[in-house]
């Protein structure tokens, strides 16, 4: 039972950065913009949050610093892709490389000492319930915040006018412009939001998940988030489930390594990536559902007609 609880809570924690980053990217892509630079924005978030802790700032400020660093990085992408209509693939890839470089540069002074990680909170009474308590009510606040963000984003996208506008801009910016919506401004906001969320994801990695600074510590989680959005057919619930699936596989393969399963550890480490993609490919087979949720103008530059 203890092992089960450990795997369960490990899954939830491992999925948290993916939930932040992928949900942020979901909002960006729903507006018709493809930002491939999640990895870079996450690394910026991770580095700045860690830096703030090293500089002695309190934890909430550090997490905020990470989020803002991600947003600042995304602004760079936004200016290139939305104002100067650069190719979005190129601008996103540039951002990924840029973020990786800048974070490595900052990290040279961080040293290798661990920091005090973000504290878990034991929710009074609830956390004392046998089994369920340790499974659900002993996480750090960011874990709960990620779940809250899932509900907020689902509600925003499908229940509010703002979400409707965002989705329709992703389908046809020309039409949205024709009926009077400020397409570029809304896309900027979406891109900034995506950067904020990627920054949070990075911050979570460096101040909560592994409270250490390691160069390129995101280890491809930004790319997996990107894949999650696509294979989840642009639907929030599937993004959430996909993130948990990935988290679960990560923890399982770690357990497998610990138990000494006779499979090379490199292959085991690849398992979460493989399993997540296989499952998501299978569930994205319904072409009609895909067509209905795919933002039709994704990655196409838009210039308002004059």
């Amino acid at each position: 039972m203890d092992l089960f609880i450990a795997i369960f809570t490990g899954t939830i924690i491992a999925a948290t950065p993916l939930i932040f980053a992928a949900l942020g990217e979901l909002v960006v892509e729903k507006s018709g913009v493809l930002n491939l630079g999640i990895e870079g924005m996450m690394l910026m978030g991770a580095a700045f949050a860690f830096w703030a802790i090293v500089a002695g700032l309190p934890m909430p400020v550090a997490i905020l610093a990470g989020a803002l660093a991600g947003a600042a990085a995304s602004l760079l992408f936004g200016v290139l892709a939305l104002t100067f209509l650069t190719n979005q693939y190129a601008a996103g890839l540039a951002l990924a490389i840029f973020g990786s470089g800048v974070s490595a540069f900052l990290g040279r002074n961080f040293g290798s000492a661990p920091i005090d990680a973000l504290k878990k909170i034991y929710i009074p009474y609830l956390s004392d319930i046998p089994v369920i308590g340790p499974m659900l009510f002993r996480f750090d606040p960011m874990v709960y915040f990620a779940i809250i963000m899932f509900f907020v984003i689902s509600w925003f996208l499908y229940r509010t006018k703002g979400g409707l506008v965002l989705r329709t801009i992703g389908e046809s910016p020309e039409t949205a412009h024709a009926i009077g919506y400020p397409v570029i401004r809304i896309r900027y906001l979406a891109v900034l939001f995506g950067g904020l969320m990627a920054g949070l994801a990075g911050a979570y990695l460096s101040v909560a998940y592994t409270p250490l600074w390691v160069e390129n510590m995101t280890a491809g989680k930004g790319w997996i988030s990107l894949a999650l959005v696509v294979f989840a057919t642009w639907r929030p619930l599937r993004v959430l489930l996909g993130a948990w699936l990935f988290g679960g596989m990560t923890i399982l393969q770690l357990q497998g390594q610990a138990l000494g399963i006779a499979v090379p550890s490199e292959l085991l480490s690849a398992l979460p990536y493989l399993a997540t993609i296989v499952v998501l490919v299978i569930i994205s087979q319904n072409r009609q559902m895909l067509a209905l949720h795919f933002p039709a103008s994704l990655a196409k530059p838009f210039r308002p007609a004059t």
Binding site: V165, R167, E171, A178, G180, A296, T306
Partner: protein, 513 residues
């Protein structure tokens, strides 16, 4: 009283073309004002400028005597100017009510809005289900959504671009009542149409455009069609020549007992559809959109196949199980309803679009596209079908609707089909091009091909067809001889509701024949 809208010396040019050249006009409150002109005459550009979706290079626009500054669609809507676009401004991935919610600025209460839509659409005889996705609607139904969206705003100036082309004659009467009522309440209406009889019936004044210039203003009720047409075309309209048909002995396409489920939950199930088209004749399929046309077209064209191979036979061969390419090998050609996106790839050049269906006509050698051949093939179509385009290199989307349609129809006819399927051949096409396309269809059939025209425009069907079929709720009526039926009978069959042997006795009798 100042005019509701006044244009002074509007000029707008795009690279290589002056779309609007010094255009002035004014529209009084409560006036129904027609803008007549061929495609490419500058109507669409002018409407965009009025609506603020495009800005004039020079000239001024006044609304109720005040100049409109910083003109955008948003300022237009704030002033009460609403527009039904020719290419609809609807989002496909969301529902009707969500589409309308995007354009109305009131609070975001979808349930209340849906009730208003249902109520308003029923009142004006354009029933529409607010919770359907626009993706699943036909062109005609989309137009209803556009009109209802505008009416919900209680507009002061309503711009309508060819609004009646998909309505039944009964619904047109209703729409005109609505428009007259709106005008009586003080709303000004700008009415763009190529149907001169409608303009004469409805409109108080008309501004006629040709090549971006105003060629005249008229009082349609006091002018003859010929006078108006001359202002618009600059010459007399060609007369249609419909010689008597000599149908072949054997049908070219024979549909027997075709039954198929709806393509999705909003589609229509086809029930036991049977008809045939012989060589040398034109058969028209009439019906209000959304009655199974989409299903029938996709089954006939081969986009959808059917397990019962014998339910569709082409040239005596079982064909229902064949895909579109295999059916084309049997001599079928097809012009879909949507020009941009299905009939042609919008950003591709005309010669590339020609290769799409004409690749069997020597345009491809050893798997490589023969550009020279393709270019000359496209150039021949442009010349033969009088397509106004900047040569085979111009992109499909740069052509006006009528010219692109002429190109697509021409491309298919150049393949010398034995069987020609065409859906909405003159949708959004100006009067000159429409007459040309219709004459082309007649000529094709008289040269021996079987032609099936699926259209929501009764006038068109009555003008060119030898026999008429009516589709309603997935059932196709027995054929009616064009010369022995009339608009009222067809209109009744189009709206026939399954009520047993109840109220629409006439329609039932015709079906049971």
């Amino acid at each position: 009283m100042p005019p509701r809208l006044e244009l002074r010396n509007i000029t707008k040019s795009y690279p290589g073309i002056i779309a609007n050249d010094d255009i002035s006009m004014s529209i009084m409150p409560g006036e129904i004002h027609a803008v007549l002109g061929e495609n490419g005459a500058g109507k669409s550009t002018l409407m965009k400028i009025i609506y603020g979706a495009a800005q004039a290079d020079s000239g001024e626009i006044f609304c109720d005597g005040k100049p409109i500054a910083a003109h955008t669609p948003a300022t237009s809507r704030a002033l009460g100017i609403e527009m039904v676009y020719q290419h609809f401004a609807l989002f496909e991935s969301v529902t009707v009510v969500e589409n309308i919610a995007l354009a109305v600025s009131s609070s975001f209460d979808l349930d209340t809005l849906a009730r208003q839509i249902t109520e308003l659409s029923n009142r004006y005889g354009m029933p529409i289900d607010p919770y359907r996705r626009v993706h699943d609607l036909s062109v005609g139904e989309r137009q209803r959504v556009e009109i209802v969206r505008c009416l919900l705003q209680a507009p002061k100036l309503l711009i309508l671009d060819e609004p009646t082309s998909v309505l039944t004659p009964q619904a047109v009467v209703k729409l005109f009542e609505t428009l007259r009522q709106l005008a009586a309440e003080g709303c000004s209406i700008v009415y763009i149409s190529h149907k001169l009889d409608e303009v004469q019936e409805l409109c108080d004044t008309a501004t006629v455009l040709r090549n971006g210039k105003v060629t005249g203003t008229a009082r349609p009720k006091e002018s003859t069609s010929a006078q108006l047409a001359r202002l618009m075309v600059g010459a007399e309209l060609p007369e249609m020549h419909v010689s008597p048909s000599v149908p072949s002995d054997k049908p070219v396409i024979e549909v027997r007992g075709l039954t198929a489920p709806a393509r999705d939950k909003y589609g229509v199930e086809l029930k036991n559809v049977s008809f045939e088209v012989r060589g040398g004749e034109i058969v028209g399929l009439a019906g209000v959109s959304g009655n199974g046309q989409a299903e029938l077209i996709s089954l006939l064209s081969g986009e959808r196949t059917h397990a019962n191979a014998l339910s569709i036979q082409i040239g005596g061969k079982a064909a229902a199980h064949l895909n579109a390419s295999e059916r084309r090998k049997l001599g079928m050609a097809f012009v879909p309803e949507e020009r941009l996106g299905r009939g042609a790839v919008p950003p591709h050049a005309l010669w590339q679009n020609a290769v799409l269906t004409a690749h069997r006509s020597g345009l491809v050698r050893n798997g490589l596209v023969d550009r020279k051949q393709a270019n000359s093939f496209a150039a021949k179509i442009i010349e033969r079908f009088k397509v106004k385009a900047n040569g085979p290199q111009s992109s499909a989307q740069s052509l006006s609707g009528g010219n692109l349609q002429k190109f697509i129809v021409g491309r298919e006819i150049a393949l010398e089909p034995k069987l020609f399927l065409v859906a909405q051949p003159t949708w959004g096409v100006d009067v000159g091009a429409a007459a040309f396309i219709r004459q082309t269809l007649v000529d094709l059939s008289r040269s021996g091909a079987a032609v099936l025209v699926i259209s929501e425009e009764l006038d068109e069907l009555f003008e060119i067809c030898d026999r008429l079929l009516v589709i309603c709720q997935g059932q196709v009526s027995p054929p009616l001889i064009r010369t022995k039926t009339n608009r009222e009978e067809i209109g009744l069959l189009m709206t026939r509701v399954d009520r047993g042997n109840g109220t629409n006795g006439r329609g039932e009798v015709a079906i049971q024949d």
